[in-house]
């Protein structure tokens, strides 16, 4: 949890960066969300955009600003924040196929030791992650919650293509590639369910501080989902629903 002494102020042109140390617990993540919402409201008309990352809230002002004038308002907002710890976040369960063709990177990392690969994947599936923020690509979620002993360093040379849907590990961060893209993270499975729909408003259903768990599906189920998406038909795995 945070108090106002935990925040520092820097700027990047017209962007005010409110920095803090990343704390991966339900309450801290939720606190940042509540603060972010309050700051958006506070500076509403002066902002063209705002974002969060693991350790910052970033306010994109429309015009040049004086940090001395903004800082007291931010600190005041933190002071009077009506944060209640009881507000639970949502839990989303996402399908992931861990068939060999989607786990080549993990096989490479463990030098083909099947037992260690399976142990790693089993443990991965038992974990609960948090969505921290979207970045890198449109709809790319950064998930926190991977224990440090499960961290896998980024590839020395990025892959030319990391496939759409890839659930991948970069250090102790987890992400899901919303499109084919060059990528340096190690793929641990593939989630066929698109998380965002940019034709909808809002495009996202899963919000920062929400929790995410993966469950294993077979290759046959994976194909069913892709076919259903292609034919625009329904499938239980396409529209995940939130659990409390």
């Amino acid at each position: 949890m945070y108090t106002k002494q935990d925040f520092n102020f820097t700027t990047l042109g017209r962007t005010l960066i409110l920095g803090f140390s990343y704390q991966h617990d339900d309450r801290s993540l939720h606190f940042i969300q509540v603060l972010w919402t309050a700051l958006n409201k506070q500076f509403n008309k002066q902002l063209e955009d705002s974002t969060t990352t693991f350790n910052s809230i970033n306010l994109f002002f429309k015009e040049d600003f004086q940090i001395e004038q903004i800082k007291p308002t931010v600190l005041k907002t933190i002071d009077v924040l009506g944060f209640k710890k009881t507000n639970p976040t949502k839990l989303w369960k996402l399908p992931v196929c861990t068939n060999e063709q989607y786990t080549v990177d993990v096989h490479d990392f463990f030098n083909g030791d099947i037992q260690r690969v399976n142990a790693y994947i089993d443990r991965f599936l038992s974990l609960e992650f948090h969505l921290v923020f979207y970045g890198f690509l449109p709809g790319f979620p950064y998930l926190g919650g991977l224990p440090s002993e499960m961290a896998i360093p980024r590839k020395a040379t990025p892959s030319r293509i990391t496939q759409k849907g890839s659930v991948a590990i970069g250090g102790d961060q987890v992400g899901i590639y919303p499109q084919d893209s060059p990528g340096g993270w190690n793929v641990v499975g593939n989630c066929p369910t698109p998380l965002l729909d940019f034709t909808k408003s809002p495009p996202n259903r899963i919000e920062p501080a929400d929790r995410i768990q993966f469950f294993k599906i077979s290759t046959a189920e994976y194909s069913e989902v892709l076919t259903a998406i292609e034919n625009n038909t329904d499938h239980p795995y396409i529209n995940p629903y939130p659990h409390d």
């Binding site: 960066i17 974002t51 693991f54 940090i67 970045g135 890198f136 965002l196 940019f198």
Partner: protein, 288 residues
């Protein structure tokens, strides 16, 4: 209607950008050169219509099937209507059948074609700006047709030339503020970086890559906010300057932020050009 006879090197529809979706990882997009874009809009735009065609290095060849007025701003390209050479920043009357031909940029890199009609292009998240895969296409294609909303009257402004200072097209100086991680540079490098000239290795709408001799130890940091004009430095010393299609977050130290003016200067530079960094202020950065 505009028929694309030749798409040029990299031509796309751009407007004021996709404002307000960075929190979903969506870059702002829109015109790279805001100054030229704003001028075009002042000369010919309507209040609610911002779409124009951004051309890069080699412009397109376009046949107009209906009358309109157009203006070119930004980089100077070899430009003709039919066989008659035309200049930037002047409203030009176009008749049905006229062919606008833009070829190589002679000064600057990016030219904007603005017509006095509202271009019809799919709106995604509040913007017509091409950005694949949010929009179907990244660039205009040969043979494609650009339609506009037919208004009752075509405004033919007189060919009054607007006074405009485009000396920034020839500038190599990028005005910068120090970024949050400026101090990753050694004390010597902090001085030297304002003295050297740097060569542009490559560029596109996502950003510019510039090599430098400032190699350093890898800094392990969490991804932070990046905006157009943010200058990050990689361990090998490559400077990455974000463009309008650039990622909204990045994991390398942010040593500079270009001013709006500095960014306009940069985006008119091409591969092989050199640039230098000039401090906008001498104030120490920035922990309050």
């Amino acid at each position: 209607m505009i028929e694309v006879i030749d798409a040029g090197f990299y031509s796309s529809i751009q407007d004021q950008g996709r404002v307000g979706y960075r929190h979903l990882g969506v870059p702002i997009s829109g015109a790279m050169d805001k100054k030229a874009f704003d001028l075009a809009h002042q000369l010919l735009g309507k209040t609610s219509d911002f779409s124009c065609i951004e051309c890069t290095l080699i412009g397109p060849i376009l046949r107009f099937h209906e009358p309109c007025s157009l203006v070119l701003t930004g980089a100077h390209m070899q430009a003709w209507v039919n066989e008659t050479p035309i200049q930037n920043n002047i409203s030009i009357a176009i008749l049905p059948g006229d062919v606008l031909k833009l070829r190589r940029a002679t000064k600057g890199l990016r030219t904007y074609i603005k017509i006095n009609q509202t271009i019809i292009s799919p709106v995604v998240l509040g913007s017509t700006s091409f950005y694949k895969p949010l929009t179907q296409d990244a660039v205009l294609k040969k043979g494609s047709h650009i339609f506009w909303i037919k208004s009752e009257k075509v405004i033919n402004k007189s060919n009054a030339r607007i006074r405009w200072d485009d000396s920034y097209l020839l500038s190599n100086d990028l005005a910068v503020e120090k970024g949050p991680e400026f101090n990753v540079l050694s004390k010597a490098a902090q001085q030297q970086i304002f003295k050297n000239d740097f060569l542009i290795n490559s560029q596109n709408r996502m950003g510019y890559r510039i090599s430098s001799s400032f190699s350093m130890d890898a800094v392990s940091m969490l991804s932070g906010a990046v905006r157009p004009g943010s200058v990050q430095i990689t361990p090998s010393g490559t400077l990455l300057i974000a463009g309008v299609d650039g990622q909204v977050s990045g994991g390398y130290p942010r040593i500079f932020q270009l001013t709006e003016e500095g960014l306009n200067v940069l985006v008119q530079k091409k591969e092989g050009d050199t640039i230098s960094f000039k401090s906008r202020d001498k104030l120490p950065q920035k922990e309050f």
